[in-house]
Symmetry: C2
Subunit: 334 residues, 2 copies
Amino acid sequence: MPELRKDPISGRWVIISTERGKRPSDFPPTPKRAGDPKKCPFCPGNEAQTPPEIMAYRPDKSGANTPGWKLRVIPNKFPALKIEGNLNREGKGIFDRMNGVGAHEVIIETPDHQKELADLDVGEVQGTLWAYRERILDLKKDPRFRYMMVFKNQGDAAGASLEHSHSQLIATPVVPKRVLDELDGAKKYFEYKERCVFCDILRQELEERERVVGENTGFVAIEPFAPRFPFETWILPKAHNDLFENHDKETFPAMAQILRDVLRRLAKALSDPPYNYMVHTGPVGNHHEAIYHWHIEIIPKLTKVAGFEWGTGFYINPTSPEDAARFLNETPSD
Amino acid sequence: MPELRKDPISGRWVIISTERGKRPSDFPPTPKRAGDPKKCPFCPGNEAQTPPEIMAYRPDKSGANTPGWKLRVIPNKFPALKIEGNLNREGKGIFDRMNGVGAHEVIIETPDHQKELADLDVGEVQGTLWAYRERILDLKKDPRFRYMMVFKNQGDAAGASLEHSHSQLIATPVVPKRVLDELDGAKKYFEYKERCVFCDILRQELEERERVVGENTGFVAIEPFAPRFPFETWILPKAHNDLFENHDKETFPAMAQILRDVLRRLAKALSDPPYNYMVHTGPVGNHHEAIYHWHIEIIPKLTKVAGFEWGTGFYINPTSPEDAARFLNETPSD
C-alpha cells in the first residue's frame, strides 16, 4: 500500500510509493563529464577568466587573482541578480516588480579540477563551510539584502554548468517564499507546543533510530520522515540554533565531517549521483531565534519532477526513507 | 538589469534574467525516441497488456478492451495511489501519515502511436478534454477524494515513461498544498478587492496585449507576467468559472482549438520540447465559486531546476514573457 506522509514543518504531503519501490541499483548511473582543465575558468592559472576575486584562502600568501589559492570566491560572471542599483519596487497595474538587485557569488572549493567536494579532506570541506560563513556575514552588512541562500549544484542533471567543484551564494532583496513557508510552519508548531519543531524531530529520530544515517558530537544526519526525493538527507545541529553563520570555529570540524561522510556514502551507494544541497538558515534580521533551526538539505537527482508534482506540490517518492537509511548505513564512506 | 517579478496569485517571485536572455534557438532540441508500436501497451491490439478499461470512445461500437477505440481510459498499472482501502489517518509521534488511497488513471488520447496531442485534429483534442471532464465528474462521486489533478507529461525529460501520447488523472484524499496556496492567494485578493484576481489579470492582459498569445470566443492564452519557466503559457476561460468540469459541451471546441494551437506553436518554435501541462480546477466541494478561476498551465521543459530554486522557491527564467509572446506570435501553427 502506498503511504501519504506529511512534513511537519512545511505541511507538504508526499507519496511513498512502495509499488514502485526502488533500491539504489534501480537508478541508472549518470555519465561523468570529462572536462579539460586547460579551458576551465575555475582552474589555477585561469584566474583572469573570472571576475576579480572577492576573497581567497592563500596559505602561501600568493597575490590576489594568481595561482596558489586553496579556495576562491568570485562574483558569478552571469549573475542572476546584480550588485549595483536600487530596488525601485513598483506596481504595473495589478502586477509587482522590482530591479534584480542582489549578490551572486561562486565559491570554488578546490584548485583541483578532478576532485569533487566529497573527495576533499575534512579540513578542506571545513574551509568551504567557513567560507560560506564569512561571505554570509559580510553580505549581511548590506541593508538591501533580506536572505542569503548558499547552495551547491553537482553534476549536469542537477544544474551545474561548470564541472569544477563549486558552491554558490545568492543574496536576495526579499525573503523567499519557501523560507517563509518553513518559518511559518515552525512558528505555528511553536505557538502550539512552545517547542522547536526541528528539536522535536531530532529527539524522535534519535530515539527511534530508523532514519538516522549519521551522528557526531554536534550534528545528526537523517532521512526525513516525508522526503520529496529518494535519499533526500538532512543534516541538523543537535543544539538549537537558528543561524548557520552563528556557529563558531569549534563546531566546524564536526559539521565538515558529517557533510563529507554523507556525501561520500551517497556517492558510493548511488554511483556518484548528481545532487543539490541547500543551506537553510534564518533570514536577515529575523527574530525567530526560538522557532527556527538551521540545517542542510541534500537532494540527489534520481527522479524527474513531472506534471503531478508541478500541479500539486505533492511528490511521489519511490524509495521510503527507512529503506534509504538502511542502504546508507550499510555503505562504508571509505 | 535583471528583474524581480511577483506572481499576484501565489506570491511567488521569479527572476527574469535578461543577462542570460535566451531566444528559442538557444534551447537545444531534445532527441525524439522512436518506440516500437508492437511493444507499446497503449497501442491497439495490446489492450490485454493494460488493466481493463474504465471507459473508451468507440464510434464503431467495438467491444471493451479490443481495438476500435479512439480514446481509452485505463487504471495506471503502477499507481501512485490505490483505489481500495480506507485512509486510516494516524500520528506517529510528531509525524502524520495515512494510507495512499486515491485514483490514478491514464487517458490514452489516440490509437496512433506516431501522433502527439498537438498532431491530432481539433475534434480529437476535444475528445481528450471531454474525457477529462467525464472522469472528474465520475470520481467526484467518491467521498474519499478531495482533489482531481489532470496532467500531461510529454517527452522523457518531462517525466513521461511511455511515449504513446497520454494524459493522467490522480485523485487525492487531501487538497494539495499548491492548490491551497493558489486558493489562499486568490482569496486574499478577493477579500481586498472583491474581484477575482484571474479576471483582473485577463482584463489587464487583453488591454496591454504584450503577453497574449492566443484568443478565441471563449478562451485566452497568455505568457504570465511572472513565469517560472521560459515559454510558460496559461490558458484561461474568458468568463469567470471556478471549475473546469462545469463547462458544457458548447465551450469545448474553443477550448480544444486554443490548446492545440498553443501546443503546435510551442512545438514549432522550440523544436518539439518536452513539456508538462496541468489542469488547475477547484477542489471538490469547495465554496470558492467567486474567488477561483480554473486554467491550464503549460510548462515546456527547457531549463533545469537547481539548488537555488529548491531552496528558495524563486525561479530564474532566462526568457522574459514579453519576448516569449513575441516569438510565439511570429510562429504559425500550421
